[in-house]
């Protein structure tokens, strides 16, 4: 089977600093993959590179949505989103002056197309589209379990709900791969458990593959089919949860080396 995301020799330099060093990662359809590594290993930089916020200095990023591979490095973030890669942010970036529903409605932007004239004349097509946007957004909120907050301002939501709203908003862009940047950060154990269920549901019901960056090892180990470990921008290990748990290189990266007396 062809991978839906294939990253070859990805390199990102900031001046003299090599944040990502010839990284290879591939993700298969229907997979939940995790990207882990110590702080500063280059995980978020990796996300920024494949979503177009940074232009990588070397290597290739290829996606294939319907079996047709396409190179996407250097494309603008909005174009990448339209191609089906949606992401959330480590530091929550919601539209705070908007309601929960409106946040998700913004996510519907790539799948709708009303222009200036359509908006001014409010044609039948526009009205139908507006209705569709609202219904679609509400359906997503229901699935994510945020429907009780639908008319609240995003900024007034509890922290865990804000993280879920980020996921809802990303889902609205109609992605085939969801990139979650530390979705469980700051969540309590109960919320993390619900998140675990939610991610599985997204994978199984919506057929959306997931790549997540996460520090909560319990969540990572229970969810992931495949785990990629990076340190200093290099991949140091890859494999299933069991393999990674017992990999001496990974343990070394996280805990440091044992000094024999």
């Amino acid at each position: 089977m062809k991978p839906i995301l294939e990253v070859n020799n990805l390199t990102m330099d900031f001046g003299g600093l090599r944040a990502i060093d010839h990284l290879n990662i591939s993700i298969n359809k229907g997979e939940i993959a995790a990207l882990i590594g110590p702080n500063g290993a280059g995980k978020t930089t990796f996300f920024n590179c494949i979503t177009g916020i940074y232009t990588p200095t070397g290597g290739d990023v290829r996606i294939s949505r319907d079996g047709k591979p396409e190179r996407i490095n250097g494309l603008k973030p909005n174009v990448v989103t339209r191609k089906g890669l949606a992401r959330t942010f480590q530091n929550i970036r919601l539209f705070n002056s908007m309601t929960v529903l409106e946040n998700v409605m913004i996510g519907c932007h790539p799948v709708t197309k009303t222009g200036v004239l359509g908006a001014i004349f409010r044609t039948r097509a526009t009205r139908a589209e507006e209705k569709l946007i609202v219904e679609r957004s509400y359906a997503i909120l229901e699935k994510i379990g945020l429907d009780k907050y639908v008319n609240e301002l995003a900024v007034n939501l509890p922290y865990g709900a804000q993280r879920r709203l980020e996921i809802a908003r990303a889902m609205a862009t109609d992605p085939f791969l969801l990139l979650l940047d530390e979705p469980a950060a700051g969540m309590n154990p109960q919320e993390t458990l619900e998140l675990d269920e939610l991610i599985l549901k997204i994978r199984d019901e919506d057929k959306i593959s997931v790549l997540l960056i996460e520090h909560d090892m319990k969540l990572v180990m229970s969810l992931s089919d495949n785990i990629h470990v990076v340190d200093y921008g290099k991949k140091i290990a890859e494999g299933g949860p069991e393999e990674i748990r017992n990999n001496p290189v990974v343990i070394k990266a996280y805990l440091g080396e044992e000094i024999d007396a």
Binding site: N78, F89, R93, I106, H109
Partner: protein
């Protein structure tokens, strides 16, 4: 304790003011008889006046802070509530409509002319509101597009004899193109930087108009611009003015309609999202460049149409009408009225343009009063006259 404290502070303020105004208010040198006149009564007046004004100021500030603590919820103000209720809004609109219709017949030509100026600013304010209020792009060179509109009518009429009705959309279109031209280089800029670049752009347009004599006839300007024709009828000057007033009212209504629709659409939402968070906005698949350019071009289009009407109203234009001061006034109408709020911007424009006119009786105190009103407004109502309460989508099953 606090009251004593306030009194003490006010007392100090009044002493300070007495000291400051001492040379000009107390000492008067009579150069003819070579005597110095000591007007101590003035000093007392300044002291007492400053004391009471200071007390009033402090009282209002304290009251404002108390009020601010009480209502932290998103409760809409009185105006929004009245406008929200159909049974109030409909009669109010009907009365306003009738008043507008009979206005030029009820009042003198002078009043109608002032009102036309004010309505031009309403249009400009609403146009700038798209750029500043909705998309959050601070534009200090807005008057440039106004100039483009005015000059396109004047020049097209002069050289090709185009009439008002053809020049109106053309002027808007040309200004819109200038909006795009300005928009492209400044796409990556935000906030202060954007303000400075747009400021420069506004000045460039004015300087070009001032110095390119062959094209724009320089500082001497272009005269004899015709007023809008009405089916070839021969109208008197009065009738022409009234006709222009009605055209303007129709255009303002059209503007309100368009902005209302835009605000409440996929595009308007994208603007608000862009204002909130650019990076998240792009991650949602919104094209930042396209969205910003749209705002710039649409805003400029309205300035252009305003310019055409301005040229038709004054029948004479020269670069002196398009100085940075105009940009500032238009921006003031938006900020003072309430950013993003249509009713707010309209009341802001009417207040800012009509107030200095009606204050002419105050003579030299006119601009001081104007400035004082601005300062007071911004201190006590920073959200504007009618604060924008964005219509949010409420989902009902």
């Amino acid at each position: 304790m606090t009251v004593n404290n306030e009194i003490k502070k006010s007392f100090l303020a009044s002493v300070w003011f007495m000291f400051l105004t001492f040379p000009i208010m107390v000492i008067k040198v009579n150069t003819v008889s070579n005597t110095v006149e000591w007007r101590w009564m003035n000093m007392v007046g300044v002291g007492v006046g400053a004391f009471f004004l200071s007390m009033l100021w402090r009282y209002l500030l304290v009251k404002k802070e108390m009020g601010g603590k009480k209502e932290k919820t998103d409760k809409p103000g009185l105006v929004q509530r009245v406008l929200g209720e159909r049974k109030f809004a409909v009669p109010a609109l009907v009365v306003l409509g009738i008043f507008t219709l009979v206005f030029p017949h009820l009042f003198s030509m002078y009043q109608t002319n002032i009102m036309i100026s004010a309505l031009i600013y309403v249009m400009l304010g609403l146009g700038l509101n798209i750029v500043v209020g909705l998309a959050g792009l601070l534009d200090l060179g807005y008057v440039a597009f106004f100039a483009v509109g005015a000059y396109s009518y004047a020049l097209l009429n002069l050289h090709y004899g185009l009439t008002f009705w053809i020049a109106l959309p053309l002027g808007g279109l040309l200004a819109g193109c200038f909006g795009l031209i300005l928009g492209y280089p400044v796409l990556r800029l935000r906030g202060d930087y954007l303000a400075i670049v747009t400021l420069g752009f506004g000045e460039i347009i004015r300087l070009v108009l001032e110095n390119w004599n062959e094209f724009s006839y320089g500082p001497s300007g272009i005269a004899n611009i015709p007023k809008p024709p009405l089916f070839g009828l021969d109208l008197s000057l009065n009738q022409k003015t009234i006709y222009l007033f009605y055209i303007l009212v129709a255009l303002v209504i059209f503007t309100i309609f368009v902005i209302n629709r835009l605000q409440d659409s996929r595009i308007g939402r994208a603007w608000i999202a862009l204002k909130d968070d650019e990076i998240a906005c792009q991650a949602m698949g919104i094209d930042k460049a396209k969205t910003k350019l749209r705002a710039f071009a649409l805003g400029a289009t309205w300035a252009g149409m305003g310019g055409v009407i301005f040229a038709a109203k004054t029948t004479f234009i020269n670069p002196a009408s398009f100085t940075i001061w105009e940009s500032v006034i238009i921006l003031c109408t938006v900020v003072l009225g309430g950013m993003g709020s249509i009713v707010g911007v309209i009341s802001g424009a009417l207040l800012l343009i009509l107030l200095p006119e009606y204050l002419r009786d105050f003579g030299e105190f006119r601009m001081i009063t104007f400035g004082t009103v601005l300062v007071l407004m911004m201190v006590f109502r920073p959200g504007g006259i009618v604060e924008n309460v964005r219509k949010t989508y409420t989902f009902k099953r």
